[in-house]
Symmetry: C2
C-alpha cells in the first residue's frame, strides 16, 4: 500500500471551456459550492481529503462560496479574488487570460539584483499596482533592477502591511486584484525589472482566517509568535504542504514572478523527513526546467543557520539567499543607534566588519541579548546568498513613530549607510523613498473590520511603546491618517536637498554596476580593515 | 564581545585532595551547599549562571543539599548518588576511585555488536547490577557480545523501567548505585562484553524533578508527549546543553560505557544552528581521540529521517546508528499480529522485505496510520546503522498484559522471528529471556512515592486499555506483584522445551558469526525475494 498524493487542485481553475473546482476538507462528509445566482454544485471526494468537480456553472467572474456539511457557506480558502473583502464571496478568475508581452524577459542573475522594497498601498497616492507602474521610470533612473513587493494576499480592510493576509491565493482587491498585479509584472519585465513577491507561509492574519474551518492547517506541536504553527509536519500535513506548494507555483506560473521573499522562515517548524522549504526548492527547479527561466527563493531567517541556504543535496533547505538583519544592526550601531534591545548585542565598526567578512555576526558565539550561543559559520556561502539593507519596512515601521533613517541621521550619515550597503559584497536592498531621503514616516497600520480585534491591536501597540513614550503618543494603527501619513511624498524629489541624495544613490549604483570589485559578490577577494581610533572601515 | 561558555562543573567533582562543586542556577542571587553535618558552603558566581566553590567540607560519601536564595535545600540536579531516594540528600561520590581491570578491553566494531537488552531490576531475583554480573556466563554461552541496560538514572522508588529518571548523573540506588555499575562494566569488559547504556535526554520523570527549581531546563516552544520540551535551543539553553554533554562524557569517562542508546531522539526539539545530537557526536569523537577507544551513539528515532544517522560534516546529526521499529512491525504482522493501531500501516512479507532491503518501510510514502507522507530514503546508509529486534521492552511492556512473543506465538514462529533478526543485514538485538522463550510477562511497573501521581498512573493505564479488555483487567503498575511477576524465571532453562529454544538461538548466533554473508552488514550484497503465494521470503 504505497499511495502518494498527486492532487493539486485548490480553488477554481479555469481552462479553455472547462472549470475545475477543488477543496481540501479532510473532515467533511459533504462539500458543496454555492454560486451567487443560486446554483449549487456537489463536489465528489477525490481521496486524501480532497473534493472536486468539473462544472460549467462557474466561469471567469462568477461569485461563489463553499459549504461544508450543510453549514453556512464560507469563502474559498484558495480563492483567487475577494472583491468584497475577506468575509465576502470568492470570485472565479481565469488567470490564463492575460496576453503577456514579456516574452523577451529573462530573469537576472541573482548576484546582479539591486532590490527596491515597496509597499503598494503607500508607494503612490493611488495605492495600487497601476500606481506602481507609473513610477517604474523613476526606478530605472535610480538604477535598481528588481522590486520587492510587500505581501499582497487579501487582508482585512484596505490598509495593511500585508502580513495579516488570510487568502494566500487572492491578490488584494484594493490594490487592483490579480489582473492588475499581472499588468504590473508585465510592465516591469518590459522595462527590464525583476519582481520579487513577499509571501507569508508561517502564519495567517487574525481576521478572516477561514482555513481552520476547512482542515487542520495548524498544529499545536509548536508555538510561534502568532500562536499555533502552520501544520507542515503533523497528521494531515500533506494537504497543507500541497496548498503551499501550489501557491508558490501559482506566483511563478500565472503571475510571472521572478523570486519569492519568504517571510520569517524560522517560524515554519518542520520536523518531517523533508523540510517544506526543501520541497519548495525542488518544485521550483522543476518549474524552472519547464519554463527555461531561473527563479529564486529568498528567506527572511533569524537563526544564523547556514542549513537554510545550503543546497538540498548537501542536507540543506535550498534557499538561494536570505536576509541578514545583523548587517543592518551592526551598521545602525556604527552610525550611532542607541544599543537597546537587540542592538545591545552589536558593537560599532567591529561587528560591521565581521558582517562584511562573514555574513553572520553571531556564528557560534554567545549572544547576551538572546542569552544563548547562537549561529554557525556561513564562510562558504557566496555573497549573493545574503540580502543587506540599512533600513526596511520592519526596522522602520516597528519604531513607534516609524522614523526612516532620514528622520534620525544627518545627510552625511545617510550617505555613509547607503555606501555601506551598495559597496557590500552582498545583494543590496533599498526601502522605498530612501533614495531621496523621504522624511515621512512608515508607520504600523491596519484596517481590521472586526471591532474587538481592532481595539486589541490598538491597545497592544500602545502597550508595546508605553515604557518609551507614554501611552498617548502611539499613533492609532486603525486611523486612516496613520496610513495616509505613511505615503511617499514624491514632490520632495523637486527639492534640492532630496535631489542631491537621489543623485548620490544614482551615482553609487552606477559605480556598483561599473566596477567589478563592487559587483562581484566574492567575499574572498575583499579585505576588510577596521581602524577603531579613527572610526574608519576600509574595504 | 565574543564570549563562549567553557564551564562544565555540574555537581560534586572529587579530585585527589580537592573537591569542586558546581551548580547551574541562572536566576539565583545566592547559592549555598548545606552539608548534612551542618556545614554551609557559599558558592560564588562563575559566569553564565554557574556557581562554584572549592571546598574541603565535602569528601567521598558526604551527604549534602543545595539551597537557592535561602529557600529550602534541595537535592543536587547533578547528584552522583541519591541513597535516600529522589527527595533525599545527595551523596558525593569519588568516581575516580575504582581500580579498573579492563585495560585489555577494546570496544568492538559496531557492525559486530550482538545486543542483549536487559532491565536490571527484573533480570535477576536480586534486581541489582551484581545480579547481572552473575549471569554474564549465560550471555557468553548464548553468544551475544553487548548488553544494553535500560535507564539507570535515579527514579522514584525501587521499581521502574527507568524512563522516569530525574537525576541524570545518579545511578539508581536500589540497583546498587554508581560503584556497582562500575563493577558490572568492568566485569563485562573482562569477559569481552560491551556495555550500552540507555539514557533519556528528551524528558524527565514526573516525580522528583528538581531541575525546574534550578533553571530553565524546559521550554514551552515545543510540545512533547511528556509536556514541555527539554530546552536545548531557547534562552539559557547553553547551561542545559552543557548539562547533557557533561552527562554523556561522564558515562564514557567514569563508567567506561561503550555506547549510549538515546531514548526517543525525535522528541529532542532543537532548531538551533547546531543540533544537540551533532554537538554530542563532536564531543564523543573528542573523547575517543583522548582515550583511543571507539564509542557509539545509537538513537531511538521515530522519524525515518536519514539526517539523524548522516555524518555531521554532511549536514547530519551524526548518530552512529538508530533503532528501526518498522522492521519489528513488519515482522510481527508477517507472523500474524492483528493489524490494529500502528500495525495497520504494515503488510505481511512485502513490508518485511522492504525493510530488509531499504531499512525504512515508509521512505517518502503516504502512511495511512500517521495520516501523512512519511520518511526519506536511507539507501546509502550501512546495515550497521540500524538495530533490529523482534521484541523489546516497549513492544512487550506496552501491551496491557506484557506478553512476550513466547506467550503469543508457537515455537516455530518464535524461531522464524529469531532467524529474521539474526540473519538480517542489521545489528540484531534480543530482549532478556527471549533466548529461552521466557513465558513470564514484562509488565509496566512504577513505584512513585507521590500517592496522587501513583493513582493518576493507575487510572491512565486502565483507561489506555479499557476498550480492549475492560477496566478490571489492567495490572496495577504500582503493585509489587506486578514487578515480581516480570522477573525472569531462570529455572525455565532447565526445562527441555526452553532449552531447545536456547540451543536454537545459540546455533543461529554461531552461524551469524561463522558466515560472512550473515555478518557482513552490506545490504547491497543481499538479494531479497518474496513469494507471496507460499509466504516465503528468500534472503
Amino acid at each position: 500500500m504505497s499511495r502518494s498524493l498527486n492532487f493539486n487542485a485548490f480553488g477554481v481553475d479555469i481552462h479553455t471551456g472547462q472549470t475545475t473546482i477543488g477543496v481540501w476538507a479532510p473532515s467533511s462528509k459533504e462539500v458543496r459550492v454555492h454560486v451567487e445566482n443560486g446554483d449549487v454544485i456537489d463536489l465528489k471526494e477525490a481521496g486524501f481529503g480532497f473534493w472536486s468537480a468539473n462544472t460549467e456553472k462557474i466561469k471567469d467572474g462568477t461569485l461563489y462560496k463553499v459549504a461544508l456539511d450543510q453549514e453556512s457557506a464560507l469563502p474559498d480558502p484558495a480563492s483567487r479574488f475577494q472583491p468584497q473583502g475577506v468575509h465576502g464571496y470568492s470570485q472565479a478568475i481565469d488567470l490564463s487570460k492575460r496576453n503577456w508581452s514579456d516574452q523577451q524577459w529573462h530573469n537576472l542573475a541573482l548576484e546582479d539584483y539591486l532590490i527596491y522594497e515597496l509597499h503598494v498601498g503607500t508607494f503612490t497616492s493611488d495605492g495600487t499596482f497601476d500606481g506602481v507602474v507609473g513610477k517604474l521610470d523613476h526606478l530605472i533612473e535610480l538604477g535598481v533592477n528588481a522590486i520587492e513587493i510587500m505581501p499582497v494576499a487579501q487582508f482585512p480592510g484596505e490598509r495593511n502591511w500585508g502580513y495579516d493576509g488570510v487568502f494566500p491565493f487572492a491578490v488584494q482587491a484594493s490594490y487592483g486584484g490579480p489582473r492588475a498585479l499581472q499588468r504590473l509584472v508585465d510592465a516591469c519585465h518590459r522595462k527590464g525589472i525583476a519582481v520579487i513577491l513577499d509571501v507569508v507561509y508561517n502564519h495567517v492574519g487574525p481576521e478572516g482566517n477561514y482555513l481552520e474551518s476547512y482542515g487542520p492547517f495548524f498544529t499545536d506541536k509548536y508555538h510561534t509568535p502568532w500562536g499555533k504553527a502552520i501544520n507542515v509536519d503533523d497528521a494531515y500535513c500533506d494537504g497543507v504542504r500541497q496548498f503551499i506548494l501550489e501557491n508558490m507555483r501559482m506566483w511563478f506560473r500565472d503571475f510571472h514572478i521572478d523570486a519569492l521573499r519568504l517571510d520569517a522562515v524560522h517560524a515554519i517548524k518542520d520536523y518531517g523527513a523533508k523540510h517544506i522549504l526543501a520541497a519548495m526548492r525542488e518544485q521550483l527547479d522543476e518549474l524552472s526546467a519547464v519554463s527555461g527561466k531561473p527563479y529564486y527563493l529568498i528567506g527572511e531567517c533569524d537563526l544564523n543557520d547556514v542549513r537554510y541556504i545550503t543546497p538540498v543535496n548537501e542536507g540543506g533547505y535550498g534557499l538561494h539567499a536570505q536576509w541578514i538583519d545583523e548587517f543592518h544592526h551592526a551598521l545602525r550601531v556604527t552610525v550611532g543607534e542607541p544599543r537597546n534591545g537587540y542592538y545591545a548585542d552589536f558593537e560599532p565598526l567591529i561587528h560591521l566588519a565581521k558582517s562584511f567578512r562573514d555574513g553572520y555576526v553571531y556564528d557560534g558565539t554567545y549572544s547576551p541579548h538572546r542569552k544563548k550561543t547562537f549561529g554557525n559559520k556561513a564562510s562558504e556561502a557566496s555573497g549573493s546568498q545574503f540580502v543587506v539593507f540599512s533600513q526596511n519596512h520592519d526596522q522602520i515601521g516597528n519604531r513607534m513613530l516609524g522614523e526612516r533613517s532620514s528622520a534620525l541621521y544627518s545627510e552625511g550619515l545617510q550617505k555613509v549607510m547607503a555606501t555601506a550597503v551598495l559597496a557590500s559584497p552582498y545583494i543590496p536592498m533599498l526601502f522605498m523613498g530612501e533614495e531621496y531621503g523621504e522624511k515621512k514616516p512608515f508607520l504600523y497600520f491596519v484596517s481590521h473590520t472586526d471591532e474587538e480585534l481592532a481595539e486589541a491591536v490598538r491597545k497592544g501597540r500602545r502597550a508595546e511603546f508605553k515604557d518609551f513614550h507614554g501611552e498617548e503618543d502611539a499613533p492609532d494603527p486603525m486611523a486612516v491618517a496613520t496610513y495616509e501619513q505613511s505615503k511617499l511624498n514624491w514632490s520632495a524629489l523637486d527639492e534640492s536637498n532630496h535631489r542631491e541624495i537621489f543623485t548620490f544613490y544614482k551615482r553609487l549604483i552606477q559605480l556598483r554596476k561599473k566596477y567589478e570589485a563592487w559587483h562581484r559578490l566574492d567575499r574572498k577577494h575583499i579585505n576588510v580593515e577596521v581602524c577603531s581610533d579613527s572610526g574608519v572601515l576600509l574595504l
